[in-house]
């Protein structure tokens, strides 16, 4: 199993960009916030997960692509936590880098990244159908897998399907 230190070293460019974006967004929005480093942890066997604010995801992905040549998005995982929906953007380049963010169920919207990474289009559509997350800026946001005329609500949400 890879250690968090070796992964941090491997993704030093990406982490630098992430911290820069997060620090900017913190200084923009909040006063008195002292914690300006994005929290990191290891998802075994080989992924570094970094928690970032949902407003920063688009900017971070743009910078990872531009400055770190990190452009392979494996997929986006969504998980219903009850009060929130977690989104995980799994990037991969020899090792995995996962950007984690969360949205409140009262406002399930996040800026779409397909303008910079068109490969995310199907993953965003799938999450829109299964979890009802609105990806703002995705011009063709239809459910990917659900039948036409599906009325029962997003099937992977707990409120639709008791977990």
């Amino acid at each position: 199993m890879t250690s968090i230190d070796s992964l941090s070293a491997f993704f030093s460019c990406a982490l630098g960009q992430i911290q820069a974006v997060v620090a900017e967004s913190v200084s923009d929005n909040q006063e008195g916030q002292t914690e300006d480093d994005a929290p990191m942890r290891l998802i075994p066997h080989d992924d570094l997960a970094v928690t970032v604010p949902s407003e920063s995801v688009h900017e971070i992905v743009a910078r990872l692509m531009e400055h770190c040549d990190l452009a392979h998005l494996t997929t986006i995982t969504a998980i219903d936590e009850g009060e929130t929906v977690t989104l995980k953007y799994h990037f991969w380049q020899e090792h995995g880098l996962t950007l984690e963010t969360w949205l409140s169920v009262d406002d399930l919207s996040i800026k779409s990244i397909i303008d910079i990474l068109p490969g995310a289009a199907f993953y965003e559509r799938e999450i829109f159908g299964m979890f009802g997350v609105d990806f703002v800026g995705h011009e063709d946001l239809r459910p990917l897998l659900l039948p036409d005329g599906w009325q029962a609500g997003p099937p992977l949400r707990k409120e639709t399907n008791d977990g």
Binding site: M1, I43, P44, H45, D46, D47, A71, H72, L73, T74, T75, T77, I79, K88, H90, W92, E94, H95, G96, T98, L117, P118, G119, A120, A121, F122, Y123, P143, L144, L145, L146, P147, P155, L156, N161, G163
Partner: protein
């Protein structure tokens, strides 16, 4: 010129699985296309949350009817990560052996489908005849031709005997001979080249933008392979080449798959020759502790991804599966742009679609 909208599917003779395309034609050429999927969506990710970790092995094996083993294997690998155990070396080698045999089986099947779709039935007959060798070998090893059910959490369900090992080695010689024959035939077959060269073109830039994986990406010059770039045992101890071509058309994808079959035969030989002794299972706790795990492996069509979250209960809290076909489907409108009607089947065959995988 008059525009005609031509619907293809969801049921159609071209692919054996349901998917629908709306193609806008101007004369003989496609100007616009849209696809609709989800016809074989079975809700496997959700079903996984309702079943135990052990039941799920059999469920995820049914995500795909061609690369069934790689799904069960990648899933078990993720659960083993959660349990913080490792499969014994012998099991790791047996799993990889099945993976490589499955790659040969999948590529031969694909070659036959390509041949049939472009009207070259000879290729279909030969490729599917030789595919029987692989299926028989897999049956001898696992007991099943398509669904092998050989993975358990912590190893494999079956061991192989020295006699079986010798039998597989023997069959590999035959297989290699047939793979070489097929390679020779394909490379020198002018009809095949005439139908596939320049068709379904994807540039390196496009495959990167669409995050494409597997043979389709490698045919456009993207040198990527999970087995080599993110090696887990036994691939860190094996030597193999990752074929890369730069033309980005169906012809390049054909060559990639032909060369990959050759490499897989070499890999099978190495795996059998170096097969470690010892048990094939390690003791795995029934109770999976809370946590998360990610597992990736190289299926015949590219990177397969499993994310599992455990909350400490009997069933996983979330299982996310990303299959490689999803990444190829998204490129189809680009590939279909401006192709002639007669070449639509070549484009669709070239990417090696597995709709059941993509729909889950």
């Amino acid at each position: 010129m008059v525009k005609t909208v031509m619907p293809i599917g969801p049921q159609h003779p071209l692919l054996k699985e349901p998917i629908s395309f709306q193609l806008t034609l101007e004369g003989e050429h496609v100007t616009d296309s849209a696809l609709r999927m989800g016809y074989v969506h079975r809700g496997i990710e959700r079903m996984c949350q309702r079943r135990s970790y052990i039941q799920n092995i059999h469920l995820v094996e049914r995500v795909c009817g061609i690369c069934s083993h790689v799904h069960a294997f990648t899933y078990c690998q993720a659960v083993e990560t959660l349990l913080d155990i490792e499969a014994p070396p012998r099991a790791v080698y047996l799993r990889a052996l099945l993976c490589e045999l499955e790659r040969i089986h999948s590529h031969l099947l694909w070659l036959g489908v390509l041949g049939q779709n472009i009207g070259l039935d000879t290729v279909f007959m030969y490729a599917w005849r030789d595919r029987e060798i692989v299926l028989d070998v897999m049956e001898a090893l696992s007991g099943g031709r398509v669904s092998h059910a050989i993975n358990v959490i912590g190893g494999t369900r079956r061991d192989i005997t020295a006699k079986q090992q010798a039998h597989v080695m023997e069959q590999l010689d035959l297989l290699e001979q047939q793979v070489e024959l097929a390679y020779d035939f394909v490379v020198h077959e002018r009809t095949l080249q005439a139908r596939t060269r320049g068709i379904g073109h994807l540039s390196l830039e496009q495959v990167k933008r669409y995050c494409v994986v597997g043979p389709v990406a490698r045919a456009s010059g993207l040198d990527v392979d999970v087995r080599r770039d993110s090696p887990r045992p036994p691939y860190d101890a094996l030597s193999f080449k990752v074929p890369v071509h730069h033309d980005g058309d169906v012809w390049a994808r054909t060559l990639i798959r032909m060369e990959e079959m050759r490499e897989s035969v070499y890999l099978c030989r190495q795996l059998l020759a170096d097969l470690p002794d010892g048990p094939v299972t390690t003791r795995a706790a029934r109770r999976v502790p809370a946590g998360e795990a990610i597992s990736r492996s190289e299926a015949p069509r590219g990177e397969v991804f499993y994310y599992i979250r455990s909350d400490g209960s009997d069933s996983p809290a979330r299982v996310k599966i990303r299959t490689p076909t999803l990444t190829s489907l998204i490129t189809l409108p680009d590939q279909l742009a401006d192709v002639a009607v007669a070449d639509i089947s070549v484009v669709l065959s070239g990417v090696d679609l597995c709709i059941a995988c993509a729909d889950r």
